[in-house]
């Protein structure tokens, strides 16, 4: 596969390390009263779609960016690649 890195252009997937669902960006608040339930949900209950999937890839043999890659799990078609940091900020994460 080829991942079109937003900063570095098209790179072979072999340069990356795969982590999993981009939903991992949405780490719950560990100090909330229902933290245990929400962390169990966060850690263990994830969607496993046949089709469009947003996932995290790390450019380990490159610039060490974490990327959010939208990939179709049936066809491997990649429809968007963004810096995870931009996605995280846009989706409300900060400090």
């Amino acid at each position: 596969m080829i991942i079109n890195h937003p900063l570095l252009g098209p790179r072979d997937a072999a340069e990356f390390v795969y982590k999993g669902d981009a939903a991992l960006i949405h780490r719950p608040d560990g100090m909330a009263p229902d933290a245990l339930e929400s962390f169990i949900e966060y850690g263990y209950l994830r969607d496993n779609p046949a089709g469009e999937h947003r996932e995290l890839w790390f450019h380990e043999q490159g610039d060490r960016s974490w990327l959010v890659v939208s990939r179709n799990t049936l066809t491997h078609e990649i429809t968007s690649v963004e810096l995870a940091r931009d996605v995280a900020r846009r989706e409300g994460r900060s400090k």
């Binding site: 596969m1 080829i2 072979d12 997937a13 390390v17 982590k19 991992l24 960006i25 780490r27 719950p28 608040d29 560990g30 100090m31 933290a35 245990l36 962390f39 169990i40 966060y42 850690g43 995290l56 790390f58 380990e60 060490r64 960016s65 974490w66 066809t75 491997h76 078609e77 990649i78 810096l83 995870a84 940091r85 995280a88 900020r89 994460r93 900060s94 400090k95």
Partner: protein
């Protein structure tokens, strides 16, 4: 032997004769021959025995789709089993052996299987070897394995080298027949970066096997001229001997170039083969078509081959399998073979056409009928024909060309799960929808079979691709060529045959297909697996179609209703060596050497692999005969005076920014916000699921600057995790990370004289006295008169100890200097073994304890997990299951009988309890001989271990028969109060 079946003409170089041996027999061929063509020219039709029934077989094809003529090529370490004689290029001195026969090809003892064939039908293994179960491993499997299988391995190391390479292009063209060549010309002249790959050693595909002309020249001449033109274009790379093995995601293709397989030995410094990874913007598949056989009684005798192969042998290689041949066909193409061989002076015994009303030839007899049997044990002697009139005729012939029509070569179109579609007009499957991204198919590969059609289809496809990529397409002038329409009446098999072979490599008959259907294997995928049809090394290139057709017929369905199986990479078998490339032996992965490596080698150190690193394991001295002697000395001398160990391999991560402390507070389960500048703290990292991930230290060099250490094994994964937390979870934190593992050479200096030794190298303005630089202090200093360095007062050994770091390039100089300055203290270098002994004596956890299943609670650090902050893993470490009342706790063990060893990995059982998993009390993680205590010691996890100090438990290893009693003790065997490290 003379070349009694050598004809006139052909593309071989008669000026160059090669001597070769087949099964020990010496023969002669020419440059341009394949092993199969040279054997046929020498009158050899029998080339191998079949897989299951050991039936005598000769070549069915003249190409890579060959199921039968599979041989062992070369000798000694270069011996290569299962090589197709039909593609093996002849070279002088080539040695080949037939396979799957004993004692000889002509007389094979296991051909008795053939007589017993009624017992060996489809599903035989599943039905027969079911019972009793215990027999499978001991009797059935070894027996089957001995009987089956084809060639044998040399069991020697491969002496050749293999390379991997990367290519980029606008257009990859796979197959260089008429459509591929026309496409390459068009794309090349349009300015595209083109790669033209073909598996053959002569470019041109079928053009080299036919006699018809293109414009004013012979097809093969036109191919040669076109290749010369293409080679003169700087933007076109022509790659003969290169098989495109697979179509992968996003326009990536894998290809193997056989650089040296046509030579006895590769040229100096050249690889045998290269595995190319080709990145293409577009690809064009022009892989042509493969002829398919017809199944009839005893259709597998040596001498029976595809009509197109017979024609190729005659036209390209000037070889015929016999001087008198017959043809069996259901289409016009078979007649071409008869005409071409007749023109070469081969006697045509008859052409048998399944279709009525074929025109009469003045040169040979044309019959309307079908072949119902053949004769000739080791080679064809006679065929029996049933004429349409019902009359039966026997015809003497030494070879038979069979043509059942042509299948577009769609293999590569299937590699991304596209299913071929049925085309009624040509009675064959053509490429379906959803092709691999960027792929177009042209010419015979999509069912455009005439030469004229292939040329124009290839050129037009390339022009469209050029336009698509923004280039103005220049259409080259193409020569006039034959444009015969396709005249075919599907005919798959002669009915009522007892043994009509469909898949010759896996010995599957038409009857096996019927049996599978009878037993309700009605899906085409089940048919394949039950009968093994199409599952041999040729992937059923010549057999799948007939199998499907027969199945459709039995089921009373149409072929498209039955469907088809798909092809997978690799297109043809690839050597494991080329997939490995240079990554073998010591080059399997890179070796990382520590800054003191050269010095350690000079000391005669024994090294151990730790991940990619080579670390000194111990430093043997003269007179020491066992590793224990060296290790005991290193431990005792370090604890008595001072020892030095290279600890560069530990991961070092530089953390900087105004939020550095807040960031580490998230990363570590214990607190870091209040750590003072100039101080170091032990930190434990948890995974988000609450399990311990890694441990190390974080030293605060400035308000906004920390240096984090990780274990050697986790240096990469911890860094990755920290970047995840930084970029994905807390993107607005002002913090930057960089791995500096390679930037600093770091040595542990441990022992009562550690400070005295360091004071000799640390520059005088830096106070490293116990008051000025206490336990857990850290700082940036200079050594040896101005060299920048970092000093950390941390201790893994439990002694008064420091870790000193200098820029990596000074590491060698520093170890030499420290060892020289340390002579007055009898300083020792110690390796990873002594390091391990001292940390077990001190009860420090390492990789064995942080093994991916243990928590802070298990490690005895439960209270370290701060509940006042939200760090990674804190919440899930509170899970019920991780907090059982009798949770495992890290404790120490000593043998009740001090002479006994304590093996790591052994399990703990309460005395009196039954020995089983249900009563398991824990296990030993690390063990060693303690030279300070004079007996073996261990640490490990025991249920409620912290409350069982003094109890005697059983330590059991059923695997090794170990069963002894050990006493539960504190894990801190040496200096439990920590007085030494604060001294």
């Amino acid at each position: 032997m003379t070349q009694k079946n050598r004809l006139q003409g052909g593309l071989i170089d008669r000026g160059q004769s090669y001597t070769f041996r087949f099964d020990g027999k010496k023969m002669t061929g020419h440059a341009g021959d394949t092993l199969a063509s040279a054997l046929l020219a020498n009158g050899v039709r029998l080339m191998g025995r079949s897989f299951k029934y050991h039936r005598p077989r000769g070549p069915l094809t003249a190409g890579s789709e060959e199921p039968n003529a599979i041989v062992e090529l070369r000798e000694g370490a270069r011996q290569e089993p299962n090589t197709r004689a039909t593609t093996a290029e002849l070279f002088d001195g080539l040695v080949a052996k037939s396979q799957n026969r004993w004692p000889s090809l002509a007389f094979d003892a296991l051909s008795v299987n053939d007589r017993l064939s009624s017992f060996f039908a489809a599903g035989f293994y599943y039905k027969t070897f079911m019972w009793p179960a215990a027999f499978w491993e001991k009797l059935y499997e070894p027996m089957i394995r001995r009987a089956a299988g084809l060639g044998s391995l040399s069991l020697q190391n491969d002496p050749d080298s293999y390379d991997k390479g990367f290519l980029h292009c606008d257009l990859l063209i796979t197959g260089a027949g008429p459509s591929g060549l026309a496409a390459a010309l068009t794309a090349g002249e349009s300015g595209l970066q083109v790669i033209l790959a073909d598996e053959d050693f002569v470019i041109g595909g079928r053009l080299n096997a036919e006699t018809f002309s293109l414009g004013d020249s012979l097809g093969s001449d036109w191919a040669a001229q076109t290749v010369a033109r293409l080679r003169s274009m700087p933007n076109v790379r022509v790659m003969p001997r290169t098989t495109v093995l697979g179509a992968f995601d996003h326009g990536i293709y894998g290809a193997v170039e056989r650089v040296s397989d046509h030579l006895a030995v590769p040229e100096a410094d050249k690889p045998r083969q290269i595995l190319w990874r080709i990145y293409s913007k577009r690809s064009l598949l022009t892989a042509g078509a493969l002829e398919r056989p017809i199944a009839f009684e005893n259709n597998d005798r040596p001498g029976i081959m595809l009509a197109s192969a017979m024609r190729a042998y005659a036209n390209r290689w000037a070889a015929t399998p016999a001087q008198r041949v017959a043809i069996f066909t259901n289409n016009d193409d078979g007649h071409r073979t008869a005409a071409d061989l007749h023109a070469k002076g081969v006697k045509i015994a008859a052409v048998i056409d399944t279709r009525p009303g074929q025109p009469i030839s003045i040169d040979y007899e044309i019959l309307h009928g079908e072949i119902i049997d053949t004769a000739g044990r080791l080679g064809l002697r006679r065929i029996t024909v049933r004429l349409a009139s019902g009359e039966t005729r026997e015809i003497e012939c030494g070879a038979l060309g069979v043509s059942g029509g042509w299948n577009p070569n769609v293999s590569l179109t299937c590699h991304q799960r596209s299913r071929p579609a049925w085309d009624e007009n040509i009675a064959a499957f053509i490429p379906g929808g959803d092709l691999p991204s960027g792929m177009t198919v042209a010419g015979a590969a999509r069912g455009v079979f005439s030469t004229h059609g292939a040329l124009t289809d290839g050129a037009e496809a390339a022009a469209r691709i050029a336009a698509d990529l923004g280039q103005t397409a220049t259409k080259p002038e193409l020569p006039k060529a034959e444009d015969a329409p396709i005249q075919i009446t599907p005919f798959w098999h002669v009915k009522d045959a007892k043994r009509a072979w469909v898949d010759q490599q896996n010995d599957v008959t038409a009857k096996d297909v019927k049996l599978a259907h009878q037993e309700n294997f009605v899906s085409v995928e089940h048919l394949k697996r039950y009968t093994t049809l199409g599952m041999a090394t040729d992937q059923g290139k010549t057999s799948n179609m007939a199998g499907l057709a027969i199945m459709a017929e039995i089921a009373g369905k149409s072929i498209p209703e039955v469907g088809t199986t798909m092809y997978r990479p690799p297109y043809t078998p690839a050597a494991m060596g080329v997939l490995a490339g240079r990554s073998r032996g010591k080059d399997f992965r890179p070796v990382r050497k520590t800054p003191s490596h050269v010095w350690a080698e000079e000391q005669g150190a024994v090294f151990v692999e730790v991940g990619n690193w080579l670390r000194a394991q111990w430093f043997p001295r003269k007179g020491e005969t066992t590793w224990r002697e060296s290790v005991d000395r290193e431990v005792l001398q370090t604890r008595k005076s001072v020892g030095i160990c290279d600890v560069t391999t530990l991961g070092k991560i530089d953390v900087q920014g105004t939020d550095a402390a807040a960031f580490l507070n998230r990363i570590y389960c214990n607190g870091f916000a209040k750590l003072a500048v100039g101080r170091t703290r032990y930190g434990l990292m948890l995974r988000e699921d609450g399990i311990a991930m890694d441990d190390g230290t974080a030293a605060r060099l400035a308000d906004d600057h920390f240096v984090v250490t990780t274990t050697t094994a986790n240096a990469v994964s911890v860094y990755r995790h920290m970047e995840f937390v930084r970029q994905c979870l807390f993107p607005d934190m002002d913090v930057q990370l960089i791995s500096t593992t390679e930037a600093w050479a770091q040595f542990s200096v441990a022992g009562p004289n550690a400070r005295k030794l360091l004071q000799k190298v640390v520059d005088a303005e830096f106070d490293i006295s116990n008051e000025g630089f206490p336990f857990m202090a850290c700082g940036e200093i200079t050594v040896c008169g101005g060299l920048r360095a970092r000093l950390f007062r941390i201790s893994f050994s439990g002694e008064l100890a420091y870790e000193i770091a200098v820029p990596t390039r000074y590491g060698d100089a520093l170890i030499r200097r420290l060892m020289r300055e340390g002579q007055e203290f009898d300083v020792v270098a110690y390796g990873t073994e002594a390091l391990g002994v001292m940390r077990i004596e001190k009860g420090h956890a390492a990789g064995n304890e942080l093994n991916g299943t243990t928590t802070a609670l298990n490690l005895g650090m439960g209270r370290m997990v701060s509940q006042a902050k939200d760090s990674i893993g804190t919440v899930l470490s509170r899970r019920e299951g991780l907090n059982d009342a009798d949770a495992l706790k890290l404790v120490g063990f000593k043998p009740v009988d001090p002479s006994k060893k304590v093996p790591a990995g052994a399990h703990l059982m309460t005395i009196g309890d039954p020995v089983n998993a249900a009563h398991d009390q824990g296990y030993v993680t690390s063990a060693c001989y303690s030279p300070n205590l004079g007996h073996h010691i261990a640490i490990g996890y025991l249920k409620s271990g912290d409350q069982r100090l003094g109890e005697v438990v059983r330590l059991i290893s059923p695997l090794t028969g170990f069963d002894h009693e050990v006493e539960v003790v504190s894990a801190h065997f040496v200096d439990p109060e920590g007085e030494r490290l604060r001294a």
